[in-house]
Amino acid sequence: MNWLSMVANRLLWFVPTLVGLLAIVFVLSRVIPVDPAVLAAGENASAAQVQQVRERFGFDKPLPIQFANYLRDIAQGNLGTSLFTQQPIVDDLASRLPATLELTIFAVLIAGLVGIPLGVLCGLHRNSWIDHVLRVVTVSGLAVASFWLAMQFQFLFSMKLGWLPLSGRIEGFPPEPVTGLMLVDAMIEGDREMIGSAFRHIVLPTLTLALPAAATVVRFTRNGVIGVINSPSVAYQTAMGLPRRLIVWKYVLRMALTATVTQLGLIFGILLAGAVVVETVFDWPGLGAYAVRSILQSDYNAVMGFTLCTGALFVLINLLVDMLQAAIDPRGAA
């Protein structure tokens, strides 16, 4: 299988994967003992008002028909209307996705930039004091609850030291978005104060997300390096007299990073869908907060829209990871 057919194969699975995901979420959301029409009509609504809402949103139809109608609408680019914001789900998601993307991209970057060098260091100095110390740190990083870490950061950096803001994406109410990525928008505006403010605001939520992720990257990179460095190919290169630095940076790292890249892709997807706690604590108006509220309010369309959005991003990111892996190690695409 060459590189192109690998991509085509993955894309072919894209649609059925999403339909399967939607089917599961659709059934689960209908199992919950909640009548969304009651919620949408309001707590003081009469039975007639509730029925009217039920008919308007098609909740009175059999489940298979509701699902078929939903898939038909999606094919037309219509994810429905939120029961509570009264806005198209597409608009709701589009306005919140950039905030989560910005947070996740920064977190994955930091996780990679911190985790890969430390993982290589541990792998090259296996069972040394550096390896032991980092093992303790990374296991702790994986074990710590993100809401606890977030609050400790708030207490230390915002309340005690006063270095960083407590919450939000920027000082005051956010301006009209251009891309929705606050730092990018600030750069487009050329407003240094805004750039500084956006940067200061993203530090704590990013660190909260990135530290456990970096711990994972360290562990995977370490294991990858140890696996490669003990391989016959490295023994051969050493025997041939190649400089150790060349062996490590050109051969070992390249082969060892295959698993790490896969892991970074998975981390990106997990953080994208799982930044809920961090977004809530830091008042970061992203997809996570939207998903939680939608679930609590049984806003079916919004829950399905969120699932579709994160599911699609997850599949696309995995595709990118596969492509990147193929570039790093062409044998993988074969």
Binding site: G42, E43, N44, S167, P285
Partner: protein, 522 residues
């Protein structure tokens, strides 16, 4: 047409209030920004769609009603309307509008806008609509001249006047221009504003909240140092709201924070706590339909088995007041000296002996995320076990609980929850919670008692205040005798505000979010 004694009193109160407003004139000075952190989302700004007290900010800062509830105990003052009269048969309410009110776009506010607003409420059938659907027919409200509105009710209504502040007036021309497919501008008004309120919308981001700028031309005028800008943000995490208040990032936050957080805020010199007895009664709602819950003896056994003092002292840390009946202590309609029930397991056992139906496990459906509701359920479970009643505690989000409460056969046996203030009349509590006419809508109990309903029917049409008082007192006594609910406490409101803010006027209806009266301390 005649004006009743109550109306005359209100007109007097109103003229005093308006006199004070007219003095305010243009004395206002620039007053900075007020940032309020709320735990509920401001994802919809339509004043005819949203109707919960937690999100009162957009309704009462961006919009005006004919009358307005202010202060605590709440008093109704004339607002867009200067006065009103009621016909002899109690069916025709005529309001005279102020001449100088205008919308944020400069258009004068007229009676046509009021008519459009009530028609819109009736057509959308959301939010406040259920207050009017039974009493006002679509198309029946008239605007004989630009400053007179006539509401022709289906029949006399004793509570109509108390619900008038909820008819918030929208700019009909602006909304009509943004109607789409006959939607009464619903999609547009969710994200935009068409009001005449004290503040005009600047930006709305449903994920964040909204900002508003002081409307200098508001008819009520300004005095002192009012805030020039308001920012209402959704901050879901309690800890973040509390820390933000301590840091000075926020100047106000919702007033029903857990009491330990209030104590924490009291340690900060940046924060002041404004205390008021609210009108938000904590009730263990009993579903009175399924055996043995339909047996008053069983319900009385339950009422004797709840440890009221233990709950209030140990769990609520004495931060609330015992409220023995369905109506808040601070409103009329409760018979003098009503003691309600007290914790007495011996009496509970005696009542239980009179129950002939077989006992079964009782389900308590507590509200997820509301610690008091969950703690009440757990406490009740342990005391009921002592009298041989098994309890299953389920914890569900409000969406699940409210959906189940829509029907008697799906509502749990017991639901620990609060009844807030939508209008200031005992009907908001004892009437709605226990009247058969409210089954499937605003009832918490599915209680049905012909004697109760007879009094309720009369109380809803009587214009005699003394008669109404007597009727609601009798209804409250009936509910108490039948133990149709377990009434625990009336909430105290602990409004956390920056110590630099003054002039907050708390009303249970606007929930401390009506900011036009507030200012920075000089």
């Amino acid at each position: 047409m005649t004006t009743t004694r109550r109306d005359a009193l209100k007109a007097v109160a109103g003229s005093v209030a308006l006199a004070s407003l007219s003095i305010e004139g243009a004395l206002a000075q620039a007053g900075g920004k007020f940032v309020y952190a709320n735990n509920s989302p401001y994802d919809n700004l339509d004043p005819h769609t949203i109707f919960d007290t937690a999100r009162a900010a957009s309704r009462f800062n961006l919009y005006d009603g004919l009358y307005r509830w202010v202060d605590n105990p709440p008093k109704m003052i004339p607002w867009l309307a200067e006065s009103h009269t009621v016909s002899d048969d109690g069916k025709v309410y005529t309001f005279k509008l102020r001449q100088n009110a205008k919308f944020h776009d400069g258009k004068p506010l007229t009676s046509a806008d009021v008519v459009y607003s009530i028609e819109r409420i009736l057509a959308l059938k959301k939010g406040p609509a259920s207050l009017y659907l039974d009493s006002i027919k679509p198309g029946s409200t008239q605007a004989p001249d630009p400053h007179t509105v006539v509401f022709n009710l289906n029949g006399p209504s004793a509570i109509f006047l108390t619900t008038v502040p909820d008819i918030l007036v929208v700019n009909s021309a602006l909304v009509k221009a943004n109607e789409k497919d006959g939607d009464w501008g619903e999609a547009w008004l969710t994200r935009n504003e068409a009001g005449s309120g004290s503040y005009a919308l600047r930006r709305h981001d449903p994920a964040v909240g909204f900002t508003a700028r002081r409307f200098a031309e508001h008819f009520a005028g300004w005095t002192g140092q009012p805030f020039d800008d308001l920012e209402f943000r959704t901050v879901l995490e309690t800890n973040t709201r509390v820390l933000g208040l301590i840091r000075g990032d926020f100047q106000g936050a919702d007033g029903y924070l857990p009491y330990d957080q209030i104590q924490r805020l009291r340690q900060s010199s940046n924060v002041q706590i404004i205390e008021q007895e609210s009108m938000r009664v904590f009730i263990l709602a009993l579903n009175c339909t399924k055996p043995p819950m339909n047996n008053p003896n069983f319900r009385r056994a339950l009422a004797y088995a709840f440890d009221y003092d233990g709950f209030i002292k140990s769990i609520m840390k004495d931060s609330v007041s015992r409220n023995p009946g369905p109506n808040p202590n601070n409103i009329w309609g409760t018979p003098a000296g009503l003691k309600g029930y007290s914790y007495n397991l011996e009496k509970a056992r005696e009542e239980l002996k009179k129950v002939t139906e077989p006992l079964r496990p009782i389900t308590i459906n507590a509200l997820a995320g509301f610690s008091e509701s969950e703690q009440a359920a757990t406490l009740f479970q342990s005391t009921l076990r002592q009298i041989g009643v098994e309890v299953v505690v389920e914890v569900s989000p409000w969406s699940v609980v409210s959906s189940r409460m829509r029907k008697a056969d799906t509502q749990a046996d017991i639901v620990p929850l609060w009844k807030s203030t939508y209008y200031v009349d005992p009907n908001n509590w004892v009437g709605e919670l226990y009247g058969t006419r409210y089954h499937g809508t605003r009832t918490f109990s599915y209680y049905s008692n012909p004697e109760f309903d007879k009094r309720l029917d009369r109380a809803l049409v009587s214009s005699d205040q003394d008669e109404r008082r007597k009727l609601y007192e009798e209804m409250t006594q009936m509910v108490n005798d039948d133990a149709a609910g377990i009434f625990v406490y009336n909430t105290r409101w602990y409004g956390p505000y920056s110590s630099k803010v003054e002039g907050i006027r708390f009303s249970p209806v606007s929930n401390g979010q009506d900011i036009r009266w507030a200012s920075l301390k000089r």
